[in-house]
Amino acid sequence: MASYDCDVLIIGAGIVGAACARALHQAGLRVIVLDAAQPGTGTTAACMGHIVTMDDSKSQMQLTAYSRAAWERLAAELSPDCEDLAAGTLWVAEDDEEMDAVEKKFRYYSEWNVPCEILDGEGLRRFEPNLRAGLRGALRVPGDRVVYATNCTRWMLQGIDVRPVTPVAALDEHGARDISGNVYRAKSVVLACGSDSAKLIPELPIEPRKGHLCITDRYPGFCHHQIVELGYLKSAHQFTSESVAFNIQPRPNGQLLLGSSREFTGWDAGINNDLLQKMIARAHMYMPALANLLLLRVWTGFRPATRDKLPLIGAWPGRQGLYIAAGHEGLGITTSLGTADLLAAEILGTTPPFSPTPFRASRILDPDYGHHE
């Protein structure tokens, strides 16, 4: 049994832990990162890697818009295996009602200085001929991107002391202990275990929210943007029921990733055939040409979900020097960079880039937590 000292101990080497480690390491602190498995192989390996601006709430807009800009700045530095692709997003409207929502979205994004444009049905088909005819239009957000999150995680961890296959057994007043009894002492400890976070701090209201993804064989040029139905926000916003929404992503090698579904089924990673079929049927309705494409694999992943759809970022009131960076639901790849900058500012005592208040981890102790409008 050994004992290790550092300034910051980060528990969890998913994309969130990795982004925090990178920010603190760059600030000159001695960082150790522990992971139960290998870096980037948790939920981070199961996702789509869409870097997307989302406006479910003002706070979400703030965090995603800031984070997306940070990804844009990082793009030139990322290694090729991070597969960065400036694909942009198309939010597709089926009917007039959704088209009104597109216009609203356009005004809101513009207020936040997120460049975007409205496409009518014809304009949409010109960009994406494989979408079915008769769609009303779309909002095009050209600055959104696509990455391969697992390799981004490894890229962020370069030069940092990472200890894989080192599950933390418990937190204690000085730091943490791994399952072999090794002790890690640190001034600051960051818990970044994604959906597993509540296993170390049971009070954390983070629940696994299962999602299915399909990947096809290679069809270069089949689509060019990440295409999402406007109803996606509705699907992500609900908390209890099962839901599916059309979401397709082109990979740089020509493969297509197809989503998305949401359900709470505990830790059962099995495939829910009914939901999967609904998901594929939904995609097929928007893109009939999908019918003839070869599906290679289906898998599931667990989004770390919180009740108010916002991640928990910052000091944990129970214990001096303990911080939380978890609960990023379906946006953790995008928001990892914003999370890292907020958390680093708090640990270093510098000015945060934007208000950390809506994301405070301690909000879960507020009596009205989870009772949102």
Binding site: T150, A281, N292, L295, R297, V298
Partner: protein, 411 residues
């Protein structure tokens, strides 16, 4: 009782015939267009051997529902989920399942193994049976296992010139564990349909191919016995290092798999109730063992008492089966042939140098894409298992590629 038999090689044919002859309502499924499996693979150019004909006739004498060209992908609450290009999504209902999914070849990477005209040994056999013209071509057969001799004999029969048969196992290993194979090589070429006298050239034991060369297609291989190397000019290299049980479907049904084989008891019952497994998926034993196991599973599934005598008969093969594995155990040299630039995962073009420092199979897959392609690591997975000791990749649903509309149809 409705029994679904998956796989129509020797194991599956024996299971289906026996079950039907004993009154079961039988459903026989194979992804190939014809019955016969690997060893009895036949086609317009290659009639099935006598033993195969016997079993095929027994099948034809019964009322068995057959689905050829249909791949079973797994099971859901409605029954077995299957897919075919013609029929799309098929749902097969049954009370019990007998899996007879056979084996595939083990490929090990060496420089040049991805050149055109380098085939697997079994793959070459299948191509020959499908009518690949080889007359006058120079052939090297290499790798390991009884299959090499069968393949060499088929090449010779088709008029090819077999310039070398290189078996990596040493003569001592073979004499110690499988003397009967040396004394009666005919045993090895069962299913080919002719005797030893057609043996094209004497096999060289304790030798292997360390490199295949040629700009566009293979032109020459370098053979070695570990001490010296010599060139063998050739037009085709058929090279396989033995067989790997197909356990993926059993895994998808929840059956326990240990050391790469489906675990079964003496009745061929797996850990899942009502699911049996026979033939090469439970371990490499050849045609006779597959036939016996098929009969045992059918009788056991129907609770027929005279299964006991068959079980005794099966036991008598046990030492043959385990000795077969030991006789052809891979030497460490054949696991050290790949160079940094040698491709290991062909689907995703991942080379040995990129893989050698990866910590485990899952990391290798996620970090380098090894095994992420359409075959889901069926080829590179067993190779990495041998080379690096990694666990075998467990393929994800739907096991083999299917078109998306097949999944829509089932709604």
């Amino acid at each position: 009782m409705r029994i679904a038999v998956i796989g129509a090689g020797p194991g599956g044919l024996a299971a289906a015939a026996t079950a039907a002859e004993n009154g079961a309502d039988v459903l026989l499924v194979d992804e190939n267009p014809r019955a016969g499996g690997q060893i009895w693979r036949h086609g317009p150019m290659a009639p099935p051997p006598k033993l195969a004909m016997e079993w095929i006739r027994r099948i034809q004498a019964q009322r068995i529902e057959t689905h050829f060209g249909v791949t079973v992908l797994g099971r859901d609450s409605n029954g077995l989920v299957a897919y075919s290009e013609q029929e799309g999504h098929v749902c097969l209902q049954c009370d019990k399942i007998i899996l007879a999914t056979g084996a595939r070849e083990l490929f090990l990477p060496f420089p040049g193994w991805t050149l055109p005209n380098v085939f697997g040994a079994g793959g070459a056999q299948a191509l020959l049976k499908a009518g690949m013209p080889v007359e006058g071509k120079r052939i090297v057969v290499a790798g390991s296992g009884p299959l090499l001799l069968a393949v060499a004999a088929t090449f010779a029969k088709k008029g090819a010139h077999v310039v070398g048969i290189l078996e990596q196992a040493g003569i001592h290993s073979l004499l110690q564990f499988a003397p009967e194979l040396i004394r009666h090589p005919a045993k090895l070429i069962q299913g080919v349909g002719f005797g030893t006298r057609l043996f094209p050239t004497r096999p060289r034991f304790g030798t292997w191919v360390c490199r295949a060369m040629g700009n566009d297609i293979v032109r020459e291989v370098i053979a070695t016995d570990g001490k010296r190397e010599w060139p063998l000019p050739c037009d085709i290299l058929a090279c396989g290092f033995g067989l790997v049980p197909n356990v993926e479907l059993a895994q998808a049904l929840g059956c326990d798999v240990e050391k790469g084989k489906v675990s079964v008891d003496e009745h061929q019952a797996t850990s899942q109730s009502g699911v049996y497994c026979v033939g090469e998926s439970t371990g490499i034993g050849g045609e006779d063992v597959a036939l016996l196991e098929g009969e045992i599973a059918a009788l056991a599934a129907l609770d027929i008492p005279n299964v006991t005598s068959k079980i005794h008969e099966r036991w008598r093969w046990e030492s043959f089966v385990s000795n077969l594995g030991r006789a052809f155990a891979l030497r460490k040299e054949v696991l050290q042939l790949a160079e940094d630039t040698t491709t290991v995962c062909r689907c995703e073009d991942v080379s040995f140098g990129v893989l050698k420092n990866q910590p485990d199979q899952r990391s290798a897959k996620l970090y380098t894409r090894c095994g992420m392609g359409p075959c889901q690591g069926r080829v590179c997975g067993p190779a990495c298992h041998e080379l690096f000791g990694w666990e075998l990749n467990k393929p994800r649903w739907p096991l083999s590629p299917v078109t998306l509309d097949a999944l829509l149809d089932s709604q």
